[in-house]
Amino acid sequence: MSEQTTSRKNMIEAIRDALDIKMTEDDNVVVFGEDVGYFGGVFRATDGLQKKFGKSRVFDTPISELGIIGAAVGMGVYGLRPVPEIQFADYILPAYDQIASEVARLRYRSSGQFTAPLTIRTPCGGGIYGGQTHSQSPEAIFTHVCGLKTVMPSNPYDAKGMLISAIEDDDPVIFLEPKRLYNGPFDGHHDQPVKPWSSHELSEVPDGHYKVPLGKAAIRRPGEDVTILTYGTMVFVAEAAVKESDIDAEIIDLRSLLPLDEEAIIKSVKKTGRCIVVHEATKTCGFGAELISIVQEHCLHHLEAPVIRITGWDTPYPHAQEWDYFPGPARVIRALEQVMEQ
């Protein structure tokens, strides 16, 4: 393998780099959304792209999520590879019919004649005092839809490699970006100074084209006593909890929820015999329920303790009570101690 140079990047820079590379390589890649064009996006993910690639490939759209995704479906059917941005995942519901009933099923209902290889980028998750409408984690409403891939990277290296994979994928991908991680590996200690990505090894990003496959989990910390299944912002919350608890936990960053790396999950839980699931989304019918179901189906006789879920509470995402809602390290530590007691 030829030597590849690397650069330090935060998650936004890594995402922008992936878009830049794919737009350079493939004329059919187009990028659009609310405030995405001239301004470069409210989180700056598309900053400079319009200037570089022109207004017909990077442009602003009306405030109509339905329109953004519906038009993107048509563009995909034509033969483009659209990468629309939905400004906040909380705003994606007006486009849900176009996603769940249309783009997810075009291939199926036309037996492969028509497809639309969309990559729908959208910032998700809380921790920024965004209240009910700028904080949600809606992954489970997409993993429940047949025909969609749903992924959530947790760091700059994965964000770039997975975004390139998503854009090159011929099926539609929901690309969820935990916005609290854009500028640093936030570990849930909201009262401590923000750590930048530059001090984290996963901000060392190869400069050119590389791919992180969709459907492969990553072991962030190997361990023997308990498996933590998690993704997104909670990867770093789990790391902090493990560091502070002295429990030898194996942390699995799922990265891709559908397709899901079942093998990695089963292998780890069979090894440790204990499991907790941590996600920021609400609990009831959350993706954790699916994970636990898989664990009991394949690992029941290896389990020493019931599997515990640490999630956001089943309430809308509150504003003033954000840090009571956010499943921080203290709750994860308690769960680790609880499963270790049995």
Binding site: L66, G70, V73, G74, V77, G79, P94, D97, S111, P259
Partner: protein, 410 residues
């Protein structure tokens, strides 16, 4: 203004219900030839009048009159007539097949045949149509082998959609016919997006978007108009106003308050309102809108005023909500009879030729049904394999689906 202490809700009601004498007094007819033909590069704001009249070319004497009348080649008219008759015979045979249990469901387009057939003949190969389930004329006009369509309706072993889709929700990429959704109006904004892509790539192809009067109420319609207005992509935005959305008359889509064509005005999109049962009017106005689109002059919205002469689908009984003989009173007549009358007037056609055509096409449709039956029917099989259920969910079958297919025994 009288003083009222109580508010009341306006719930629209059609002028006639079962048992009433049909009343179409709300349809204001323009005379054939009355509505002007604006220059193709007219500014939308200079042609608001075309949204309020009714473009009609054929008069009661079967003559083509006015600025919209053009010298259409007789072979196009004859092709159109043949496609319309064929579509109607196919519809009739499929209704019978549904009653015989050969399929579960069918949507006919009786009375609306001219709209899809004439527009398709005005389009070019490569121009993409995003239809609803009442534009089978787009396919028949291209001489698609009927057996292909019937195989899909029968969900048999020859179904090009592997049994995945509801009967008559066709998909034919090779005929520029986008897969029909069944969720209404979703395709309208998709057509706008497709046309945007054509413009982004500097192509010369245009899109044709289809929706009914009732489903203009969906927010997708609004989104489509906004995007069409903002980016001015090459798209013809058809609204087929057939007066009825299952049992709801067009008043429930706001048709009482304002017609559907003039909805384009708020977006500065040129708007035409056209007699949808007049093949010549459909063909010429379509060509006008297509020429605009092709010349980078942007979208056009066209309201086709027509009447759904049959039931909504085989699952519907219109005698429960509208006069059973309402179709006989429809003031714009039958599209096949009107084109036939014009061709006879021109000397290109006569009753004997027409009878022979009906006979010939009946034989053709019957033969196609018979051939399709050799691939199976819904009640007798053979049907697509159970394992085909798992195909085309993704490009490559992921592990979890492979396991589920195995679990099913495949």
């Amino acid at each position: 203004m009288s003083k009222s202490s109580k508010l009341s809700l306006h719930v629209p009601e059609p002028l006639s219900r079962p048992g009433d004498k049909p009343d179409f007094s709300f349809i204001k007819l323009s005379e054939a030839g009355e509505i002007r033909r604006p220059a193709v590069d007219s500014r939308p704001q200079d042609m608001h009048d075309t949204a309020f009249g009714l473009v009609r070319v054929l008069n009661d004497n079967h003559e083509a009159v006015g600025e919209w009348a053009a010298d259409i080649k007789p072979d196009i008219l004859l092709h159109g007539l043949k496609a319309m008759v064929k579509t109607r015979i196919l519809d009739d045979r499929m209704l019978t097949a549904q009653r015989q249990g050969k399929t579960s469901f069918y949507a006919q387009c009786r009375g609306e045949e001219a709209i899809a057939v004439a527009q398709r003949l005005a389009l070019r190969k490569g121009d993409m149509c995003f239809p609803t389930y009442r534009q089978q004329g787009l396919l028949v006009a291209q001489n698609i082998p009927l057996v292909d369509m019937i195989n899909q309706v029968f969900s048999n072993s020859g179904d090009n959609l592997e049994g995945h889709s509801l009967p008559s929700l066709y998909s034919y990429k090779e005929y520029d016919f986008f897969t029909i959704s069944g969720n209404l109006t979703t395709q309208y904004i998709q057509a706008v997006g497709w046309a945007m892509a054509s413009a982004i790539k500097g192509d010369d192809k245009i899109a044709s978007a289809w929706v009914g009067d009732g489903s203009t109420a969906e927010s997708d319609f609004h989104a489509a108009l906004v995007f069409a207005s903002v980016y001015k992509p090459p798209v013809v935005m058809n609204v087929v106003n057939n007066q009825w959305a299952i049992s709801s008359f067009q008043g429930f889509a706001g048709g009482e308050a304002a017609n559907f064509a003039c909805r384009g005005h708020g977006f500065n999109i040129p708007s035409l309102r056209v007699d949808g049962n007049d093949f010549l009017a459909v063909y010429e106005t379509s060509k006008w809108a297509i020429e605009r689109a092709r010349n980078n002059l942007g979208p056009t919205i066209i309201e086709w005023v027509t009447y759904r002469a049959g039931a909504h689908t085989t699952a519907d009984d219109p005698s429960k909500y509208r006069p059973i003989d309402e179709y006989k009173y429809w003031p714009l007549g039958d599209p096949i009879e009107r084109l036939k009358g014009h061709l006879i007037k021109l000397g290109h056609w006569d009753e004997a030729k027409h009878d022979a055509l009906v006979e010939e096409l009946t034989v053709e449709v019957k033969a196609a049904v018979k051939e399709a039956e050799s691939f199976g029917t819904l009640n007798k099989g053979p049907m697509p394999g159970a394992d085909e259920m798992f195909d085309h969910v993704f490009k490559e079958m992921p592990e979890h689906l492979r396991k589920q297919r195995q679990e099913m025994g495949m």
